[in-house]
Each structure stands twice: as C-alpha cells, then as structure tokens.
C-alpha cells in the first residue's frame, strides 16, 4: 500500500518493520487477551535504540525529533501492535529534557537511553479533575528545606507497574493564593521503587483494552526536594509541552492503526468470495474502505505538520490537537469499515480486528476527548466564547 508519507524516513521504517516482524499478530493477541505487558517487544525496541530516539546523543540517545519518534509509534501500530504500552517514554522525555536540571538529566537520561530505567508514567489526571487540570487537588507541601509531603489521589495513570520513573504534577501553592490559576503547580520526578508502598499505593483498573492503568493514592508521601523539576509553581507549563508531543504521537498511532485496518480490509475484500466473486467487487464494500484510506492520508498530513512545528520550536498546540482529532476519527472510521468488511469473522479473536477495534476506540476519548479538541479550536483559534 503506497501512502503519501514523505520517503525521508524509509530507512527508519525498514528497520522498525524488520524488528516488528519478529513479533507477529499472535504475540500481541496473547498479551491483549492475558492483559499482560509485552516485555520482550518493548525490550527489543529499547535495545535497538528506538525508545531513546529523542534523547540527545550526549546522553546516549539519537537526538532525533518528534517526527521520528512519531514514526516509531506509527510503525508499532501499523505492524499490529499497540504503542500505548510504551509511548509514555517519548512524551515524558520532553518534560525532563526541556525543563530538568543538568544533574537530573545526567543522572537519568543515560539510564533511560540504555533501557536500565523506564520513564513511562505521568500522573496528572485526578478523579474529580480531568481536563480541568488547574483544579487538581493533590498537594505537595514543603517540609523543612529538603522534603515535600504529597497527599491526594490520581486516576488513569498508565504503565506504573512497568516503569521505574514517574512524573507527578501536584499543587505547591493553593489556588486561592496564586495570581493565575495555571501557577502554583509543580512537577516532580519520582523513582517508583522509593515511593510505592511507602506513602504511595497503586490500584490497577481492569479495562476494555488490557492496558495497564491504575489509581494512585498518596498518603503523607515524603519525597526529597531535588525531585522537583524546574521552578516550583511553573509545572503546568512544563507539562503542556509534553501534552502537545503526546497528541502528535497519538495521532501517529491512530494513523498506524488506520493503515493496518485499511490494509487488512482491502486484502480480505479481495480474497473473500461470495456469490462467486470477491466481496471487494461490490462498491458497498470498497467505498467505505477507500474513504477511510483517504481520511487517514489527510490526517497524516496534519500529523507531519504538527511534528514539524514542534521540532522547529514553533507553536504546535493547534496542529497537534487537530492532528489528533483527524487521526482518531480516521482510524475509528477505518476500524468500522474493516469490521464491517470482515462481517462475523471480524468478531473472532484470531483475525485481530476486534482487538485493534477496541484499542483504536480509546483514542476518541484519551488522552483528550474529541469534544474538548473542538472546544479548544473554537475558543483559541476561532475566538468564539469559552463553552465551559
């Protein structure tokens, strides 16, 4: 299947496809069904340097941009896998990279690059605070000069059980005492081995896609002050950078899914014979697949534009959000066309369509719902009144 993506990264894609080919559909199916973490796959990606794509060469990575990182995610999903198991590392990296101190970068980045440590988790969302991030209730209160004490609760915090490091956003100055509500929040980098069971509890949430995600409870957790990233009170800004990266990466995953569905559907439409001819000969079958492909291709253009802006240091919020919306819609449309093409067989686990269908459905909701992207576009790009 020939796509409109630029050929600039074909060398990366070839190498990624060769690696992914060692982990066939049956491998991902088993991990999906057992709700286990695909350790061997993530280890292979790490050993071959892919998870360190964005870490600068001086810290042992390849010093590449979001464009290349997004290609890693796209190819994982296009090969039938689920990049949701490892994408955290790519966007959490930018928070540490752009705002961490030299000492923090020196002590963590080389180990993350080599695979000794995983930086897969970010704790922002709370049970009563979703997109309304500035209202979050988890607090970090300074104790003496060298400690902070954390209290509160987080939810939908992914990959905590398969990560060594976690980024935490907590309020250090009460909302009532700051000039702007986006101030007073701070980012900490926690070593999970030092905090789990010592003031932080992890409660897994069983879910539709077998994704490892959790509730976290903080009860007087004491952490060293040097875990603070950047300046106290400026954490919201640091997290936002990572969120734009996250959206572009998720868009790339959706695009990988979209191509997977289109490829799977068109192949099946060619092979499956009913009434003595392939079902793909019916326009009722081929048009939805063709339209899904057109929409994946269009979304892909916005994804590359978002990545280009991010890598050039230009504002990329609008494009990252729009790419995520377009790509999530396109992959969901492709998923529906694929399932419809497969008919009853699409529901059988052995064809992987139902698994990928569930996985790509998530991106209508996470990490930001489609409606909230529309609100963002209406308010911030089109200057319409804020609707909430």
């Amino acid at each position: 299947m020939k796509t409109s993506a630029p050929a600039d990264h074909d060398d990366l894609r070839d190498a990624l496809r060769a690696l992914c080919a060692d982990f066939p559909a049956a491998y991902h199916r088993r991990h999906g069904a057992d709700e286990t973490y695909p350790e061997e796959f993530i280890d292979a990606l790490t050993k071959a340097g892919w998870m360190a794509a964005m870490i600068p060469a001086e810290f042992g990575g390849s010093g590449l941009g979001l464009t290349e990182a997004s290609i890693v995610m796209e190819e994982i999903n296009r090969a039938g896998g689920n990049a949701g198991h490892c994408h955290g590392q790519m966007y959490n990296m930018s928070t540490l990279l752009r705002h961490g101190s030299e000492a923090q970068k020196k002590s963590y980045l080389p180990k993350v690059a080599s695979g000794e440590l995983r930086l897969q988790s970010m704790a922002v969302t709370e049970p009563t605070t979703g997109t309304d991030t500035t209202k979050l209730k988890t607090t970090a209160v300074k104790k003496g000069n060298d400690r902070y004490v954390i209290n509160g609760q987080k939810v939908w915090i992914s990959r905590v059980q398969h990560s060594d490091l976690m980024i935490l956003l907590a309020r250090t100055t009460p909302l009532s005492e700051v000039k702007r509500k986006s101030e007073g929040l701070s980012v900490f980098l926690l070593e999970l081995a030092q905090v789990v069971g010592k003031g932080m509890e992890v409660k897994p949430i069983a879910n539709m896609v077998g994704h490892e995600t959790n509730e976290l409870f903080f009860d007087d957790l004491e952490i060293p002050a040097e875990t603070l990233i950047g300046e106290e009170g400026q954490g919201f800004r640091y997290i936002l950078d990572g969120l734009n990266a996250e959206r572009a990466l998720i868009a790339a995953e959706c695009i990988g899914d979209g191509y997977w569905f289109v490829e799977k559907a068109s192949r099946y439409a060619n092979e499956r014979q009913v009434f003595g001819r392939p079902i793909g000969q019916n326009q009722g079958i081929q048009f939805p697949i063709a339209r899904a492909f057109v929409n994946v291709e269009a979304a892909n253009l916005m994804r590359f534009e978002a990545c280009r802006r991010f890598d050039a240091g230009e504002p990329a919020g609008a494009q990252a959000n729009m790419a995520k919306l377009l790509a999530a819609d396109a992959s969901w449309e492709a998923a529906n066309a694929c399932l419809q093409t497969f008919g009853g067989f699409g529901f059988a686990e052995e064809y992987d369509v139902e698994r990928k269908f569930r996985e790509t459905r998530l991106y209508q909701v996470a990490p930001i719902s489609t409606n909230l992207i529309l609100s963002y576009v209406a308010e911030h790009i089109l200057d319409m009144p804020r609707s909430f």
Binding site: D10, D11, A15, A18, A48, G49, W50, A52, A53, L64
Partner: protein, 253 residues
Amino acid sequence: MKVLVPVKRVIDYNVKVRVKGDGSGVDLANVKMSMNPFDEIACEAAIRMKESGAVEEVIAVSIGVKQAQETLRTALAMGCDRAILIVATDDVHTDIEPLAVAKLLKAVVDAEEPGLVICGKQAIDNDMNATGQMLSALLGWSQATFASKIDIDGDHATVKREVDGGMQSIKVKMPAVISVDLRLNEPRYASLPNIMKAKKKPLDEKTPEDYGVDVSPRLEVVKTAEPPERDAGIIVKSVDELLDKLKNEAGVI
C-alpha cells in the same frame, strides 16, 4: 584483513512482481526496493568476522543506479565501515550484467586489496548465480560457493557448501571469493543508533569509466512473461479413471 562485500539493490522480496506490458522486463517504477537478501547474509558474515577480530575493515560496494546508495546505507547501518557506489546506469530497468559487474569488482579489489570477497550466491531478481564465480576467475582467486559455514584459518578457509544431495566441506586457499547461501546466518536488523552513524560513514561515488570497464550489454532479453496460472484440480472417482486420464489426457504414462 579487509573484506569486500558486493550488495545489489533488487525488488523487495515481499513485492508481488508485475511484468511490464510490453514484456521487456519487470515493472520497477514506484516499487519498493531492498538489499538482495543473500547480500544481507554476506554483510552479516563479514560484520561478524570484524566483531570477532579477524577482520579490520568491511567495505560494501554496489553497482547500478544512484539510488543504490540507500542499499549501501543499509549495509553501513548493519555495521560495514565504508561503501563504494559505482553508478553504471541512470535507468532503474537496466540490469548490469554479471560479467560487467565482475570486471568492476575486480577493479575495486585491485584498488582496495581485500583478502576476501563475500557475496550473495545470487540476486533474487534475475537469479543469475554467476558474478561470484566470474570474479574469482578474473582474479585468479579460489572460490567457494553456496557457503553455509565459513571458518578462516590463516591462509586457508574451510567452507561448508550446500550442494545437491547434501553438504560438502572444502578447504580453499586465501585470498578467496566466497558466495553465501541462505542458512549461513540470520542477518541482524539495524538499530537506530547504527542507522544514525551510517549516515556519517564514507560513501564514495564512482563510475565504470573510473575503472576503465565497459558495461554495455551483451545479452538481449527476448521476452519476460508471468508464470502460467495454475488450473484448478479435479477429483476422480476411481483408480481406473485416474489411469485413463493420466494416459489419454495428460499423456504422462
């Protein structure tokens, strides 16, 4: 010791090959191209020799269109040290013939003075299986074809060959041209850091004129055709009917 590894850019083994409308060859426009899989095995063998300390430098060389530099970058990303590209045509549909390739490789060997040439036994596009043998003849070097195991010991190499009916071990004098078969090794995939390093490794671009070699074709492709489509089988009701059909319809007994 230096090792020279010739690599060819061929149609990717996953691509469904289509014959051009006029039957003059296979359609290569907008088709995914990759390194010949046997040449990947040759690269892997040479790189492992370097990793074991037996070899100082691995040089990859490709002859064909300018785009073959992508194939050479793949060889460099696997671990070859430097590359030579001989641009012998600007038409992707022109296949440089084995004798011309062998002559160019001889010229490269004369210039680089490697102690060993490791190549794929054949390219999967035209299956000629000739270049390695021709090169050894032109150089006056030993040859060991279809290698599934290679042991270099000083001035000799012991090579296990895949031959019809089994395996054959031969001992050849170095320097030698060794062509490799499928089971010699499993080539590695390039890691991201090595892909990045490969972009900075030297890749020299040459022309056949630089080596004084004439690459004009001596063979003419008369016709290229798709393999005939296989007809569906039939189920016979009895042994007698089977015998009758074999005798009178198929004419095989």
